[in-house]
Symmetry: C2
Subunit: 363 residues, 2 copies
């Protein structure tokens, strides 16, 4: 009997354990339990662990009442959508966009309008045309940095244009920014939150990519009145988020481990992205992609007519997990796939790209 | 200027820090991070941290696919209600019952039917009469042990009768049991979950009262198909609950700290309950109550015509926080209050009872 090939996953957007600072987390937990046992172990309130909330507010240059710290940023999204999105509301999403967000918005019966995502971010001209055509957009969900699934980032000019569009057409921008700290090349851009002057932007981020995913700590920043409304919803849902986890994150970010951890993660991601691009050029020369400047993901366009679903199956038969591009689209396009390089070692990437080439040629 | 009296809170159902095993938690975290860093720090799935799920399944004598571990049991309630309760559904609640549960069910526009709570649990005859009168009950929310707010427990006979009622009238019992481990006198009774044979019972509990509230770990046990449905909802809400917290709880319960912690908590609660009852007998001789056999709460009935809202204000003016009985009722009765003795020291209890007597006499 032939040996099964070792599984290699380009599917999950999650870090490998070797780039998680286990010792930093252990030390942070120890400090948290020593310095603030009452704050760590008692019920908190739904706004989150106050010292961490203060750190986040300071980082974004906002007041503390503009911040809500949640059990991961997906939970933040869920609260935000429950508050802002009713059945029939017109919501703009990027094409492609994160599958869980699309599912969540579809679950609320929102009327989704997909605006194409270019290499420098969402197509602002197409967005403006939609608005001028009379679309009554109430919310736009945008992932500005190293977008999931495309890996693209929004240019500074487009950020300014979008904030201006939101102001003149009275819609809210949901700036969903979990990857912002993971830039390993190119120039960082200001958040739309910081460019906004009239509360048009609600911002979400997370410590999943900079501390670890299992700690489930994310947050929202926005208009104080909106945050207060969501805090009430959070109280009714879970009284308080996880104080133990948030108190550990607070010690982690304040004790110097945060910067070290981000450096470790960025260095690893830069190497992995480079290896994946090189592997694809060698083994899947038809693949078209933009070399990422940060984040976890590479979006691969294949020639028209190539069936991403069939490639998914052929790769799986060779022990390689990928995600079909169609999972991130509202239409039926099939000639794209998403590859995550965050959870695989460089050697796995080389071997995975080789097998992916084999799968591609088998179609 | 007179010194303000030191604040004493009989309001919050939460443990004081002195009965939380801080060192046990620190050691459990250390073991969790050493023994299973991948399981603690990576994304999990929405069913929760698997070793803890297995421990819970074993404790309740059910299979693992009948257990979902959540971010606190309030979140478990929220998922359950979202799955089982639609607008207009008839839901039975105890009178009085936990205010947050009532709010959550009212928020879903359920048609709430309050069945009186006797000293041995919900009035089963009144419940049966309601059913025979044609009420199409779909769910009954019951807190069987040391009920919040009343402190009463459901007798064994009534538990059996309720499971039988649920079977014959095809409704689900939601057995909400966070206080079960906190019995300091009297005889424990079997869970309705264990008495049920046809999936009529969904059971929830929590580690908030036995480990600590800030860790936010609760769980549901029920029919495997229902649990699978709720697991999908949980995935869409937060991908996975807090793995760091659940992995710490897993080490805590498996490493012997759990039994020690429960003993510490029960010993303290027994003394606090006894002191509170003695204090009330001395300072508020009109107070009527049942001496608790466990849990956090004492429900105090005052003579007809006494205004609990006015007593609440008079006590607050003396630095004593209590909760108005009317918060736990769907009607306008006002002559009851809830006193929590979980978060106060015996000396605070003596002084609190003295001030409460003063407040009472001031009415």
């Amino acid at each position: 009997m032939a040996t099964e090939p070792a599984p290699i996953s380009f599917a999950r957007g999650a870090p490998s354990l070797d780039i998680i600072d286990v010792e930093g987390l252990r030390a942070a937990a120890d400090r948290a339990f020593t310095n603030d046992p009452a704050g760590s172990f008692a019920y908190g309130t739904s706004v989150g662990y106050k010292p961490l909330r203060a750190w986040i507010a300071d980082r974004h240059g906002v007041s503390e009442d503009q911040v809500l710290v949640t059990n991961g940023s997906m939970q933040a999204d869920a609260f935000l959508f429950e508050t802002l999105v009713s059945a029939g509301d017109t919501v703009v999403v990027e094409r492609p966009s994160y599958d869980r967000t699309l599912l969540s918005l579809k679950g609320r019966d929102a009327d989704l309008k997909a605006v194409p995502l270019d290499e420098d971010g969402v197509d602002v001209a197409a967005f403006a045309e939609l608005l001028e055509g009379g679309a009554n957009v109430s919310l736009a969900h945008l992932i500005p940095n190293f977008q999931n699934p495309a890996g693209y980032s929004l240019s500074g000019d487009k950020r300014r244009a979008l904030v201006e569009l939101a102001r003149t057409h009275s819609f809210t921008i949901f700036e969903d920014d979990p990857y912002v700290e993971l830039r390993f090349s190119g120039q960082p851009q200001p958040t739309m939150l910081s460019l906004s002057t009239s509360g048009e932007v609600v911002y979400a981020s997370s410590f999943s990519k900079t501390v670890c995913p299992g700690i489930r700590v994310g947050y929202l920043v926005g208009d104080a009145a909106l945050i207060a409304t969501i805090a009430k919803l959070a109280t009714g849902t879970y009284i308080s988020p996880n104080m133990v986890a948030q108190s550990i994150v607070n010690e982690f970010v304040r004790g110097g481990s945060f910067e070290t951890s981000i450096e470790t993660v960025k260095t690893a991601l830069a190497e992995r992205a480079q290896r994946l691009c090189a592997g694809l050029r060698e083994h899947v020369p038809d693949a078209q992609f933009v070399e990422p400047e940060g984040g976890y993901f590479l979006w691969v366009n294949l020639p028209e007519g190539v069936d991403g679903d069939a490639l998914h199956a052929a790769a799986a038969a060779r022990g390689v997990q990928i995600v079909k591009g169609s999972d991130f689209l509202l239409d039926d396009s099939k000639n794209a796939i998403r590859l995550a390089y965050s959870g695989v070692t460089p050697d796995e990437i080389d071997e995975g790209a080789r097998r992916l080439g084999e799968a591609y040629r088998s179609l």
